[in-house]
């Protein structure tokens, strides 16, 4: 049966068709054979994750998992970690519902109901958030169901409810921002907020763990006897979500009903203003006449200086990158805190921060290198300038590495005050990690609009995967080198092999 044009079902079918084609194009790049490769590769990774989950869960579930207070605290803690990621993702997606133009101008100029469109689009956000979190949590849930009982499968019903709550909260936050700061600033602040929510909770509890328990493990807080003693009894309503996840149907039903109800209420409450706010968001681009805070002095830089200066200026003014960089900086806070807390007490505790710093160097360099190399909005201008291509590349790489060095240098200096050897090992591996990520971006560079930063991973999965593997292997090398293990040589060789494979797969091998 055909849905009536403009109806909820009709819009849902339209959105689903677009989402499906978008996903298919993203995964296949126009070649169906890639889809099979992706599916087989994905299944292999998925199976591996199940194996890892089984190794961790099987011993813990050997004697059964009782819903006692420590277990409920641990499940709640892990659930909150998951929820913070869900909320971050939902916040970003809801902002896009208001700000992404694409077909919005067409629909807003039609007599179709904006309330219906809002319901479909926010529903799609809730669904995609639920699917993604279910996919991520499924190895753990499946192994818990296998080793601790099938009642854990209830988690699959509870997860969509959590995602509905996350979307409802994201809607309320976005609306709050519209009221507080107006449509001009809402998107930027929401992006930053999403980054903080996504990383903030994880980092916050890690910071508490470092300060209170002198450990880097974020789970230390959840299993702390002191904390558990202060928490309410196991039959308290506070534990309802945790009980619901663990398969207690009596707890699950009210949790699911409440969270889904929250989403329905949010949709009902916020949908009438959607059309008005989407129009206000659309006019932001038109009235976006920001004045630069600094004057222009025509100082007569060299060509390389002009390129580097331009890169830094654009990085500094890019709100999306600001939130991404903020995220990277947030991840560096726990190691900084650990360094500060343990200052002067020997190098033993620092071994955990070496891989974090090395990873951060690689990830930061990868993101910045993409912006400088692929995200060159005036590609033709730079390409027609009288500079050899190699010099352009060198200047841009320098611009990236200087930023990475500026971020890492203070932490390395702090580390050097405690252990010279460890600082040197970290520095070397951070340089190698940043250089590897940059080299991969050089080899896989494809001119794209800077605004496509969010989707840069899609441009080349080989680049994304090899960048991640290179960062991980250099992080491992750094950690092993810091403790003087010969295995560092082995992980370094693996990193070089990863780079070799990336280079052989890349379109630019210069």
């Amino acid at each position: 049966m055909m849905a009536a044009p403009g109806s909820l079902l009709w819009f849902a079918r339209h959105e689903l068709r677009l989402a499906w084609r978008d996903w298919l194009a993203m995964m296949t790049g126009g070649q169906r054979v890639r889809l099979f490769g992706f599916l087989f590769g994905g299944l292999a990774v998925y199976a591996l994750l199940h194996l890892i989950a089984a190794v961790i869960i099987a011993p813990a579930a050997a004697n059964g998992i009782a819903p006692d207070k420590p277990t409920l605290a641990m499940v709640t803690g892990i659930g909150l970690l998951f929820f913070s990621v869900m909320l971050s993702q939902a916040l970003e997606a809801i902002t896009r519902v208001y700000y992404t133009r694409s077909d919005l101008d067409l629909i807003l100029s039609s007599p179709a109901s904006t309330r219906t469109l809002f319901a479909v689009r926010t529903g799609a956000v809730a669904l995609s958030t639920a699917l993604l979190s279910a996919l991520l949590a499924s190895p753990i849930i499946n192994m818990l169901a296998l080793f601790a009982g099938p009642h854990w499968l209830w988690a699959y019903l509870v997860l969509p409810a959590f995602s509905a709550l996350a979307v409802a909260i994201a809607m309320a936050l976005t609306m709050g921002l519209f009221r507080l700061v107006g449509p001009k600033r809402t998107r930027l602040i929401a992006q930053i907020l999403a980054a903080i929510v996504g990383a903030g909770f994880v980092i916050g509890i890690q910071a508490v763990a470092i300060l209170s328990f002198d450990t880097y493990s974020r789970f230390a807080l959840f299993s702390s006897p002191d904390l558990i003693a202060t928490l309410p009894a196991a039959d308290h309503w506070l534990w309802l979500p945790a009980r619901a996840v663990m398969g207690d149907a009596i707890s699950a039903v009210p949790v699911i009903a409440t969270f889904l109800g929250a989403l329905a209420l949010a949709m009902l409450f916020f949908s009438p203003s959607y059309g008005r706010l989407a129009v206000a968001a659309a006019s932001v681009g038109q009235s976006n006449r920001h004045r630069a805070k600094t004057g222009t002095h025509f100082t007569g830089r060299s060509q390389a200086q002009a390129l580097r200066h331009k890169e830094w200026r654009l990085l500094q003014r890019d709100p999306w990158l600001l939130s991404q960089t903020l995220m990277q900086m947030l991840y560096l806070l726990p190691p900084a805190l650990l360094l500060w807390v343990n200052y002067g007490e020997g190098a033993g505790a620092f071994i955990v921060i070496v891989p974090v710093l090395v990873m951060a160097a690689g990830q930061l360099a990868g993101g910045l290198a993409w912006l400088a190399l692929s995200g060159e909005d005036a590609y033709d201008l730079v390409a027609t300038a009288p500079i050899p291509a190699a010099s352009i590349l060198r200047a841009k790489v320098e611009a990236v590495l200087v930023v990475v060095a500026a971020v890492l240098a203070p932490l390395l200096a702090l580390l050097a005050l405690n252990s010279w050897a460890m600082a040197v090992a970290t520095g070397i591996c951070a340089i190698l990690s940043a250089a590897s990520a940059t080299a991969i971006q050089v080899w896989f560079r494809i001119p794209m609009r800077r605004a496509m930063f969010r989707r840069r991973q899609v441009a080349s999965r080989a680049a994304t995967i090899s960048e991640a593997f290179a960062s991980i292997t250099w992080a491992g090398t750094g950690a092993l080198l810091s403790v003087g293990s010969w295995v560092a040589g082995l992980t370094a060789i693996i990193a070089l092999v990863v780079l070799g494979i990336a280079r052989s797969l890349s379109p630019h091998r210069s």
């Binding site: 681009g285 222009t296 009288p386």
Partner: protein
Amino acid sequence: MPVPALAITNLAKSFDRPVVHGLDLTVAAGEFYALLGPNGAGKTTILRMVAGLLAPDAGTIEIFGTDVRKDPVAAKRLLAWVSDEPMVYDRLTPLEYLDFVAGLWQVDPIQARDTANDLLDLLGLKPHANELCGGFSKGMLQKVALAGALIHDPRLIILDEPLTGLDAGSARQVKDVLLEKVRQGVTIIMTTHILEVAERMAQRIGVIAGGRLVAEGTLTELRARTGRESTLEEIFLELVEPGPAAT
């Protein structure tokens, strides 16, 4: 014999199919040359090869006697390229953008500052000189890109559809600036779909179809070729469309 601004010999380029076949084209110094052709005729491909943005499969391109492939840096010093999609950074102001372009072409900073201010004034962008380009209209962006092309005083300016999307006032400003540059001895090669612009501004017109130069000359020469007092539109349609000419 004076060195031509642009000399293309036997140029060829294929993608999935041949796009440019054995093209020979010469544009004299100080000339305003319009390159016309239907969509997909290969105009942009030819100009991108001239600007060094695409490598030809065969043939040579010389800009004031400098081979683009053998000495690209020297050739680029003489050239400015303006595409139909303005190459401007959202998060730079027009002045900052011009400062950047001046840096790339190594223009003396004092001269660059003065030229930048003059150009922004000439193109009606002075009040927006310190606003980020992100909020500009397509016409304003196109004018910023044109200012960028002119700040390093190029001897050859290549423009791909520079008037697309401009309002009448902006189009007039751009046309005036280009004509003034030609008066100063600069060579301009421009593609356009607005035949009236080519008719009024260009000294010579080249018509490209299927990757080949099918006709070339002044408007009078092209008229003589058709043997009647036709408009450029009629001549163009007769040259590029198979069958009887549209009237």
